[in-house]
């Protein structure tokens, strides 16, 4: 963590470092199977704060949208849903209603996954295979044509002399040759809850780590110089090995922790699809699902089930929607409401304490996404909020789901940055391409 910027060290990571597990033991969670060495009651003899946590967001089969799925419109009406007109979004995608934004893939809301084309490229210096997905680009027309998200801000992510964006060239066979960047998927993701509260965790290890040159962003020099978001999900792995992850669980030491399945086809034998676990959140009050693939902070990467990509430290944060800013703001809450018992999901639950403690998602709040705003970027500048003791004591704490609602609470002093510091960027970035609006 020493390579992190000063900004980061004063933010989330400082909190993480400040936390220590009182028992000194580290009951790691194995991200591959989500199991620990606890007994059936979760009692492993360790201090309660050090008990293993369920790394929920990556558990295949959990309906990602279940907690935030909009209720049927017919609730409380005198007529069944069949008599309702179609959702307004079917008339205009900017109106309210479900809209798939990353149309390149097939979303399965029951399973909480998206299946996307899996692209194979190579690393120029070695020729090793680079397996990646495409999610976003600043090429508007090709974004439309390919079903990717358009993000004008990605044009600002490339800065010569920095590692924020790799470069690549398109070969005659349609593959991309990357100039640099490798990812090691062999680490085992683990999270040990903090002593006094689950967040910050006493220990958090990301399940994959990029080298100093790895960024999910690539500027294609012979494709109009446009920038694409191309997260790497496997590196230097043979086709046949990946094809084996269609009917059997993927080996997370070879692939990204969010991979649920990789299958050969359709068509030629070198065509593949990859199925990824989605995360739930909100944007301007609308429930959404998204992919979380990289972070420039190892603790955040561990929490997100993402790849630690230190090159993203070169992306400037804190300037939100101003000229040359490549990011959009994401609002994470440290100490949102938690479940009162394991048997009932608190309808107000939210935040990192909740996510670590109960294995569900943190329900982060996004700024602008396509069809709601003009300022979308898949690079999210993490603004971490902490409810003050005063707000909690007065009963003001609840789930928040909208940027300006949060900023209003900040203005009134009920939400602050960690440790009572001013609210704002932590310096931490997560790469989270938007997939779908549920409303």
């Amino acid at each position: 963590m020493t390579f992190l910027s000063t900004r980061v060290s004063t933010g989330l990571i400082a909190l993480a470092l400040a936390a220590a597990c009182s028992s000194g033991k580290a009951p790691a969670i194995n991200a591959s199977n989500g199991e620990s060495n606890s007994d059936n009651n979760g009692n492993n003899g360790l201090a309660p704060s050090c008990k293993p946590v369920n790394l929920g967001p990556l558990n295949g089969g959990q309906a990602s949208g279940s907690e935030i799925n909009p209720a049927p419109a017919s609730v409380g009406a005198d007529i069944p849903a069949t008599y309702f007109g179609p959702p307004p979004s079917s008339v205009n995608p900017k109106l309210v209603g479900p809209v798939q934004l990353l149309k390149a893939g097939t979303v399965d809301l029951d399973k909480g996954t998206i299946t996307l084309p899996f692209y194979k490229g190579r690393l120029g210096t070695t020729g090793k295979s680079v397996w990646f997905i495409l999610t976003d680009t600043d090429d508007k027309e090709n974004a439309d044509a390919l079903g990717l998200n358009f993000s004008a801000k990605l044009a600002y992510a490339y800065a010569p002399g920095t590692k924020a964006t790799r470069t690549g060239t398109v070969a005659n066979d349609g593959t991309i040759t990357f100039d640099q960047g490798t990812v090691d998927f062999s680490p085992v993701r683990k999270i040990v809850p903090g002593a006094t509260s689950p967040f910050p965790p006493a220990e958090a290890v990301a399940g994959s780590k990029g080298n100093a040159d790895y960024s999910p962003l690539v500027k294609l020099t012979n494709a109009g110089g446009h920038t694409y978001n191309a997260p790497v999900l496997a590196f230097d792995v043979a086709d046949d090995t990946l094809a084996g992850f269609c009917d059997n669980p993927p080996d997370k030491s070879l692939v990204h922790d969010r991979v649920v399945k990789i299958c050969r086809g359709p068509g030629k034998s070198n065509n593949f699809t990859v199925t990824l676990a989605l995360t739930t959140g909100f944007s301007f009050g609308r429930p959404i699902v998204y992919i979380s693939t990289e972070s420039n902070d190892p603790t955040t990467a561990a929490l997100e089930g993402a790849t630690f990509a230190p090159a993203l430290l070169d992306v400037i944060v804190g300037r939100d929607d101003s000229a040359f800013s490549a990011i959009e703001r994401l609002f994470a809450i440290a100490n949102g409401p938690q479940n009162l018992s394991p048997n009932e999901v608190n309808p107000q639950r939210q935040g990192l304490n909740s996510a670590i403690a109960d294995g569900r998602g943190p329900l982060n709040v996004f700024g602008g996404i396509p069809t709601i705003a003009t300022d979308y970027s898949p690079l999210w500048d993490v603004n971490l909020g902490v409810w003050t003791a005063d707000a909690i004591a007065k009963g003001y704490r609840s789930r928040v789901d909208e940027e300006f609602q949060i900023l209003g609470l900040v203005t009134r002093g009920f939400l602050t940055g960690p440790g009572g510091k001013p609210f704002g960027s932590t310096g931490i970035i997560v790469n989270c391409p938007i997939v779908k609006r549920l409303l």
Binding site: A77, P88, G285, A323, Y396, F423
Partner: protein
């Protein structure tokens, strides 16, 4: 539905004792502060707001950001008012009818006039639910029926032990049995217009005395701040609420129930009693749902609770109830200014568990209903109360 059938009124009568509270006249006087006004986007960023790009709504009205919807008028966000054209008309016997125009099912003329378009209004002209009028050569409207008595004084006495339902609630204006704000204009394509009456049988000279304010609410609608036939304008107080988590401002002009009309600072309009409710977005339904809470969070020790909401709060602290509207133009296709009041009550269990908070979105509310944390009044099934309020949307704040 008559006021005598109101469960609000019935509940109020059951109250053994009631404490007199300050009348909840917030609808006209205490909305100077929009408590859900979005703060500057620069909060928590490293740059001042001047470096931010324009609001996305300035690029495309369907995107997030402030947007005036009722563009016929001029909104004053500091005063929380809208100033609209004042239309003159008359009954067939010649008595003056002073109105505003806010909505119509004539889409092209809605755009031309800066009114809200509502296709559902086509379904609102049923037996007795709309007046009929003829547009005269001088541009005035001659109405067939409908009178409003603006002389009553609006009074609200808080109930006990909770402020809602109120012990006493008298609206400040009462329409006759034929009065509805809706009108079918026979020589204007038979389109339906929303034309709330703001004064009746009063001369222009008398109303001109209120050109600079101090409107006489015994002669004009309680929402009127200024009225000026000389300038052809009327300034009305706005109400704050939400639609799909966006803070909004709207007018509240009529209700079909006396208690609701009193709470809203609106006219009791018996003509709206026969508007069919409960069918939301289905064929031939003229309404859209509005979600009102009885017992949302209240202020704590005099401090404005950022979660405050509901009728108990509104009666007690004089601020608005922060109702949640369903679809409005630019967010959905199903807007109607005639809102079908769905009244929600947080269960004791939800309150005890700390699940109660401000609601801002229809589906958030319906999710709470599905889980049993919000019910209808007294634990009854959640849904339409049978009450409708006429609340033309004016502006999205986000």
């Amino acid at each position: 539905m008559s006021s005598s059938k109101s469960p609000f009124a019935s509940a109020a009568r059951l109250l053994a004792s009631a404490t007199l509270a300050a009348a909840a006249l917030g609808a006209t006087s205490a909305r100077a502060q929009i408590e859900n006004n979005p703060p500057p986007p620069s909060i928590g960023s490293d740059i001042p707001a001047t470096y931010f790009g324009p609001a996305p709504s300035s690029v495309d009205k369907f995107l997030v950001g402030p947007l005036q919807l009722l563009t016929a008028g001029k909104v004053d966000l500091n005063a929380v008012t809208v100033t609209l054209p004042l239309y003159t008309g008359q009954l067939e016997d010649g008595r003056k009818v002073w109105s505003i125009l806010t909505d119509t099912d004539d889409e092209a003329n809605a755009e031309a006039l800066g009114l809200n378009f509502s296709s559902k209004l086509t379904y609102a002209a049923l037996c007795g639910t709309a007046r009929h009028a003829v547009a005269e050569l001088d541009g005035s409207l001659t109405f067939d029926v409908g009178k409003v008595d603006f002389s009553p004084e609006r009074t609200i006495t808080a109930g006990s032990p909770s402020a809602f339902p109120p012990k006493v609630a008298n609206p400040g204006s009462v329409g006759d049995k034929n009065y509805t704000p809706l009108v079918v204009i026979s020589n204007a394509g038979n389109h339906v217009y929303n034309a709330p009456m703001v004064a009746f049988d009063v001369s222009a000279e008398e109303l001109n005395k209120s050109c600079d304010g101090n409107a006489d609410h015994s002669k004009v609608h309680d929402k009127v701040v200024k009225i000026c036939p000389r300038d052809g304008t009327v300034t009305l107080a706005l109400t704050v609420g939400f639609s799909f988590s966006r803070p909004v401002l709207y007018l509240s002009t009529e209700a079909n129930d006396a208690v609701v009309a009193a709470l809203e600072g609106a006219t009791l309009a018996p003509g709206l009693v026969n508007i069919p409710v409960g069918r939301d977005d289905s064929a031939l339904s003229p309404v859209e749902r509005i979600f009102v809470h009885t017992n949302g969070p209240a202020n704590v020790n005099g401090e404005v609770n950022p979660q405050r909401q509901g009728l108990n709060s509104a009666i007690t602290d004089g601020r608005g109830p922060l109702n949640v509207l369903g679809g409005i133009p630019t967010i959905a296709t199903d807007y109607s200014p005639i809102w079908d009041v769905n009244l929600g009550e947080w269960t004791q269990e939800a309150i005890d568990k700390g699940y109660r908070s401000r609601m801002t979105d229809e589906f958030q509310i319906l999710g709470m209903v599905v889980r049993g944390f919000l019910t209808g009044p007294g634990g009854k099934p959640y849904g339409s109360t049978g009450f409708v309020v006429n609340c033309p949307i004016v502006q999205r704040l986000l």
